[in-house]
């Protein structure tokens, strides 16, 4: 049976006059890779700090594994944190850093060393134990921080934008490694990020934060394909909204609709356009952006509105797509890809 690692009820927190968290309810399952996604200032990091115990909520309740921990100090909670800037102790060696949590919990020295070395091996840093944090690269420090947080085998691991300071290549590599480590150790990961791609590739489920509240909690595919609000649609992926008069005319019913650019086909005006279950709209190509593997078309619809369409460059080349600029086209998408949003 799957247990519940974290349960948040009606969490509120403000700093001075600024509301950081305004009513968050959330359940995170055991062993889940859960991401909290949102722009800076959306409250995701504050929620993480509330769970860790660095802040106390103004209102609400926090449960870890069924036990209420709302008022408990950080050292009384079975969670460990990987900090954004790693927060490694500069005066200790890598090994002492990793073993610190065990030392504090009075694990005997011999066992401490064995477990610290094992944790360093898990993050592929064998042989670095005697170095100081200052002698490591950013990616290595990040892995030391991970080993330090994992070595005590907490029930939940909190990660506060841990990949934010790394360059792109390293970040992509660490994404794969983090996911692999999480699968290996089976600990619940709560991962805070503002990078939608990172959240989509790594997570089992995602909570999207918007101004101190959760806008949507769901699987990556669901969040991407069926965004619950216009904010989610625009924050996760490129939003492509049809609304007002245009929406009524093209979709056939009033409301706001979001269509992902890659779901839209760009056809020549002369093409046979009638397919069942599909919606068609005519327009003029305003701009063409060549992206290498794909091409982005900005199309001004007849009678107002603009849509972006993304086409894989299966057969077309850069010269071919440039010729599209200013020409008339037909846009076509399957009806179910026009996702209605609450207005």
């Amino acid at each position: 049976m799957e247990g519940r690692a974290i349960r948040l009820q009606d969490l509120h927190k403000s700093f001075g006059g600024t509301t950081a968290v305004a009513g968050v309810d959330l359940e995170i399952r055991d062993g889940e890779f859960f991401s909290m996604l949102g722009p800076s200032g959306s409250g995701k990091t504050t929620v993480l700090r509330l769970v860790a115990g660095f802040e106390t909520p103004d209102r609400g309740r926090i449960e870890l594994a069924g036990q209420e921990v709302t008022g408990l100090a950080p050292f009384e909670r079975d969670v460990h944190t990987v900090f954004q800037d790693y927060a490694l102790f500069p005066h200790m060696t890598v090994e002492q850093n990793v073993a610190y949590g065990l030392k504090v919990r009075r694990v005997p020295k011999a066992e401490r060393l064995v477990r610290a070395r094992k944790a360093l091996a898990e993050v592929r840093l064998e042989g670095y134990g005697q170095r100081r944090p200052a002698q490591l690269s950013g990616g290595q420090r990040q892995r030391v921080a991970l080993a330090r947080a994992l070595v005590g085998r907490p029930r939940v691991l909190l990660l506060d934008e841990p990949l934010g300071a790394l360059d792109l290549k390293l970040r992509e590599q660490m994404q794969v490694e983090l996911k692999a480590i999480q699968r290996e150790v089976g600990i619940t990961f709560v991962f805070v990020t503002h990078d939608q791609e990172e959240a989509l590739t790594m997570s089992d489920r995602i909570a999207v934060f918007d101004r101190g509240r959760i806008a949507q909690v769901s699987t990556p595919a669901e969040i991407y394909e069926r965004p619950a609000t216009a904010f989610v649609a625009s924050f996760v992926g490129t939003s492509n909204l049809l609304d007002g008069e245009t929406a009524h005319r093209i979709v056939g019913a009033p409301g706001t609709y979001n269509i992902r650019p890659e779901k839209i086909r760009v056809l020549k005006e002369s093409a046979e356009a009638d397919e069942p279950e599909h919606t068609t709209a005519g327009g003029t190509v305003a701009d063409v952006v060549y992206l290498g593997d794909a091409t982005r078309f900005l199309v001004d619809l007849d009678g107002g509105g603009r849509l972006t369409a993304l086409q894989q460059n299966l057969e077309t080349s850069s010269e071919d797509v440039a010729a599209y600029r200013g020409t008339r086209v037909r846009l076509q998408w399957h009806r179910r890809h026009a996702v209605p949003l609450p207005s």
């Binding site: 660095f54 100090a73 950080p74 460990h80 944190t81 102790f89 005066h91």
Partner: protein, 297 residues
């Protein structure tokens, strides 16, 4: 064009000069360092050298004239006379006591000014700690003389407990010197505590450490180099002092007093005595260097 020809030419010369300096980093360095190096070698190291050399001269005991003949008599006397040895040990003891007291008092004060007080008040508190340094040294020492004198403030405050003040003597000297040099200890500790990243404390708590453990394992080791840096000031300033002890020390004698009293009658002996604190401080600095404190000065 209306450009003034002479200014343009002058600017050209400056430009050429700047350019040629830019291409000659060694010349640039030489120009920059000559004056301060002259000051350091001639005035500072030079006078130390004179001190060192004159310590090996002697004095004619009848005329009190300096006899410029090489001899190690002064050092022999210094090492064999019990009074001298006692005074040297006492001086080092006073310097150490002052340093320890300063560290013990400075730590909580700095902890308050750097981490407990509201950030808005912190600069003001630092200024408050510094203000005694703006007052004259003598004024402060005479103030302590008044406090510690018979029937003075110390006696009056301690009387309800059936105690009396320490009076003039060794304890009064240590107390007054501690007061004088305390800001030099508070400041480096304050800076270190202020620069201590919050998230290191969070990380320690997160890994299961209570406040006491975090203090011992994270705060203290990271601030210790600054305590050592502060101690360089308190130790050397105390070791070289001879005025405070004259005013509040009663009959207590420190190395400085011996130098002072010998300077007229037996200059070479005074020089030999003067080398003692120099030597002690060099040893102290060597010891401190091993803690890495000098890197954070």
């Amino acid at each position: 064009m209306t450009t003034d020809v002479t200014t343009a030419a002058g600017r050209g010369t400056v430009r050429r000069l700047a350019g040629s300096l830019h291409r000659r980093p060694r010349l640039r360095l030489a120009l920059l360092l000559t004056a301060p190096l002259l000051w350091l070698t001639v005035l500072y190291l030079g006078s130390l050298a004179v001190l060192f050399v004159s310590a090996f001269w002697t004095t004619d005991s009848f005329t009190s004239q300096v006899v410029k003949v090489w001899s190690t008599d002064n050092f022999h006397e210094l090492l064999t006379t019990p009074v001298f040895r006692q005074v040297v040990l006492r001086s080092v003891g006073v310097a150490l006591a002052v340093t320890v007291l300063c560290a013990l008092i400075a730590f909580p004060v700095a902890f308050y000014t750097a981490r407990v007080a509201r950030p808005r008040w912190r600069p003001l508190l630092v200024v408050a700690i510094l203000t005694p340094l703006w007052a004259s040294y003598l004024v402060k020492v005479y103030a302590w003389r008044l406090i510690l004198s018979e029937g003075g403030l110390a006696d009056w405050a301690l009387a309800p407990f059936g105690l009396s003040g320490p009076g003039f003597g060794l304890a009064a000297t240590v107390l007054t010197l501690t007061y004088l040099w305390l800001p030099y200890m508070i400041l480096p500790i304050h800076t270190a505590l202020e620069q201590l990243p919050d998230n290191l404390l969070d990380a320690s708590a997160d890994l299961g450490a209570r406040a006491g453990r975090t203090f011992r394992s994270v705060v203290l080791p990271m601030v210790l180099p600054s305590v050592a840096a502060g101690s360089v000031f308190t130790f050397s300033l105390s070791l070289g002092d001879y005025i405070t002890v004259q005013i509040v020390g009663g009959k207590t004698q420190l190395v400085g007093n011996l130098v002072y009293s010998n300077i007229e009658l037996n200059l070479p002996m005074a020089a030999a005595l003067g080398l003692v604190p120099v030597l002690v401080i060099v040893l102290y600095l060597l010891a401190i260097r091993r803690t890495g404190a000098l890197n954070s000065l």
